[in-house]
């Protein structure tokens, strides 16, 4: 290979109390996809922010195409030929595609001309997009196209992608990969950040692995197993969750023709959903976000009431019961959004433990709160689930995403549920924490709890679920044993196999 497009030497950045990056060096070459791997908090995002000019390094140098490179703001980075696709899309919902793209350019042409160029580029790279649609109405995959096209219009030398596939269906991921390969063939270098190791093994040419802010290794992902990659990230030997053989008990939870209108204007109504889960069984529900997951969780937790017979537990109608009554009979839920739904961000862990555990753990006495017991309950969760925090008195907000996730899942698991419903249990959680959470869920199932796991991470569902179904526009596909399914079939189920044309937009 020739000289690197981007060369990083000894980059260091410290924040008060933490060293985010310490002496990181690596090179990215033209025409390669270079993966950046690491656990949450390993310093990937800080590193990328330095390359994109959002943060200035304390020490170290960068060279872009042979010239010294020290961007003081994203504008400078863009001018030098560095573009970035953000993990949480940096889009403006109320504006149309062309306006969004104009905002990411230095000298945008007139909107009409820009629209023409957007059409050209989107056709060249197989990413169809109408420049005048309002971004708020687009699907996650289409929104990502907006970001990618915004980058491509500036003829970047280096394209940074921060977890680009976390919101895409397998088919959309394939389209994305094709686009990326086309780009590398044109000599663009791509710096690719992802948690998904299999993806990195298929796509990336080189991988740099970060742990606790330091570079620990550079390797060729296709010659390394996912397990080795994960172990390099974590620094210890990784335990794959083990499924112990177990006998399934009676049907614990049953939905009969559950139909429900969504309370939110942008939500998705549930249409005639029927399923049953037996004791000791894990039912995995996949699907692209916004296809009824939140509504289904609401209907199961009791936040949304339905006709009594639509939700049945141990053959008793429970559709009319509220969340507290359902908790009392052992139907527990851990919703997706950690900050705001599963936990109250500004309340301490003790208070958050009290919020869902008061009934089943006996944390209140004659209407008065027993803070002592709530604290021991919170501490028990912290110990058992290895939540890294100085103590139970810390606010939920102060925990990192992965740690808080361990806490909110642990809080429900520790209450010995008869039926547990979790939505996105390991979203944004690093490999070792995710493995711990999955193991806890499997242990729970082994003890006879019926589990419903709603997730967009298909690998996760394949790993822990006994049976799999997909939600699409509020409908549930046929439920099939996971052992019989391939990823392709799952993709079709998610796209709505009843209407296959939708799947490969």
């Amino acid at each position: 290979m020739t000289a690197p497009v981007l060369s990083i030497k000894g980059l260091t950045k410290a924040y008060p109390g933490v060293v985010a990056n310490s002496d990181v060096s690596f090179d990215v070459y033209a025409g390669e996809v270079h993966a950046l791997l690491g656990e949450n908090g390993a310093g990937k995002s800080t590193l990328v922010k330095m390359i994109y000019g959002l943060v200035q390094p304390d020490a170290g140098t960068m060279t872009l195409e042979g010239k010294p490179y020290a961007p003081t703001e994203p504008r400078a980075a863009r001018a030098a030929g560095v573009a970035m696709v953000f993990q949480h899309f940096s889009l403006f919902d109320a504006m149309n595609v062309a306006e969004n793209i104009a905002l990411g350019m230095e000298n945008p042409p007139r909107l009409a001309d820009l629209a023409g160029r957007i059409r050209d580029v989107s056709e060249t790279y197989g990413l169809p997009l109408d420049p005048f649609r309002i971004v708020g109405d687009l699907s996650a995959g289409e929104r990502q196209r907006v970001e990618i096209i915004r980058c491509l219009l500036q003829d970047p030398r280096l394209l940074i992608m921060d977890e680009p596939t976390s919101v895409l269906t397998p088919q959309e991921v394939e389209i994305l990969f094709l686009t990326l390969r086309k780009l590398t063939a044109e000599g663009v270098a791509i710096l690719y950040i992802s948690h998904k190791l299999e993806e990195i093994r298929t796509l990336c040419d080189t991988a740099t692995i970060l742990r606790l802010g330091k570079k620990v290794a550079t390797c060729t992902p296709s010659e390394t197993t996912a397990r080795e990659l994960a172990e390099m990230m974590v620094g210890t030997v990784l335990h794959t969750p083990e499924r112990s053989g177990r006998a399934l008990g009676e049907v614990a939870l049953e939905l009969r023709g559950l139909s429900l209108r969504s309370p939110s204007a942008f939500g998705c109504a549930l249409k005639d959903i029927s399923l049953s889960v037996r004791q000791g069984e894990v039912l995995g529900l996949g699907g692209v976000a916004g296809n009824g997951q939140d509504e289904l969780l609401g209907a199961l937790s009791g936040e949304l009431r339905s006709a009594p017979d639509m939700v049945r537990m141990h053959d008793q109608p429970v559709g009319m019961l509220g969340p507290m009554e359902r908790r009392r009979i052992g139907l527990l839920c851990a919703p997706e959004e950690r900050l705001g739904h599963a936990a109250a961000p500004d309340m301490s862990l003790t208070e958050n433990a009290m919020l869902t555990g008061s009934q089943r753990e006996g944390l209140e006495r004659r209407g008065f709160l027993d803070w002592g017991r709530a604290q021991s309950f919170a501490e028990a969760i912290i110990t058992r689930f290895d939540v890294r925090t100085p103590g139970a008195a810390n606010a939920a907000r102060s925990l990192s995403g992965g740690n808080l996730q361990k806490f909110v899942i642990g809080r429900e698991v520790m209450q010995r549920p008869e039926v547990l419903v979790v939505n996105q249990p390991t979203w944004g959680v690093d490999a070792s924490a995710a493995a711990a959470i999955r193991q806890a869920l499997l242990d729970l199932a082994a003890g006879g709890t019926a589990l419903v796991v709603i997730s967009q991470d298909l690998d996760e569902l394949m790993e822990i679920a006994d049976r799999f179904g997909a939600l699409n526009e509020g409908r549930l596909s046929a439920i099939r044993p996971t052992s019989e399914l391939s990823i392709d079939e799952i993709g079709l189920m998610m796209g709505g196999a009843h209407d296959m044309a939708v799947a490969h937009v």
Binding site: E73, S90, F92, A94, L103
Partner: protein, 306 residues
Amino acid sequence: MDLSSINLVLLLASLMVAATPLLLAAIGELVVERAGVLNLGVEGMMITGAICGFAISVNTGNPLLGVVAAALGGAALALVFAALTQLALANQVASGLGLTLFGLGLSALIGQGYQGVRPPSFPRLSIPGLSDLPVVGRILFSHDLMVYFGLLVVAAVWFMLKYTRAGLILRAVGENHDAAHALGYKVKRIRIMAILFGGACAGMGGAYISLIRVPQWTEGMTAGIGWIALALVVFASWKPWRVLLGAYLFGGVTVIQLNLQAAGVAIPVEYLAMSPYLITILVLVIMSADKSKAPASLGRIFHASR
């Protein structure tokens, strides 16, 4: 009751005058809110502008200098708000309310000694030919300059928001400040400039009351126009031309009800007095039933380190 005493031409002419203070204050606040900042201090900035403009006009004898002083006065008060909310990251609602109370007090203090004084009169438009036209000339072409200035500002704001890059960036900041920051736009700087613009507009709106509409100085003379301006921005769905429509509607109903009062209509005065507020809000509520939404970052505090 004698409705024949109501002169339609005079009524339409005075509608534009009655609407101008509200129009100026509301278009300024519209820009501020489009940038994602909720400044509840409009009333305070208006009254401060009213007394600054009045005092400078009286002392220099130049009403145009007075308007400039009003804009500076309003912007100076807005600068306090900008410092509190953008730099010290204070709560916008509390800071805005504080600003109104502070402005009312400050204006009363400056206004000591200006009670009962008459300001110099304001130049009127006079275009030979046009201004002499019957009816149309009286309604459209013979107002003071500020009426036209107000219309110009609305048109300029509309054009800026819709067709210029500066307007696009301003809307982007109001829509999603984290994304705007990630793209490298200076969220704080843009917001501070928007806040200053809003302050200047509110100040001029206040000065219009003390220099032209009334014209004299009394404490608390803005009488809640600043609050109406805030409501107007919301009910106009953050759209400039709707703000103009709402302001004229409000001005129109105000003028009509004053005329009806004078004509001795057998409706209790209290009902007539509340009618401009009711009708304006009612019409705009009906109009805002479309899908337009508030700027998504409105009132949220921006912290770059997130």
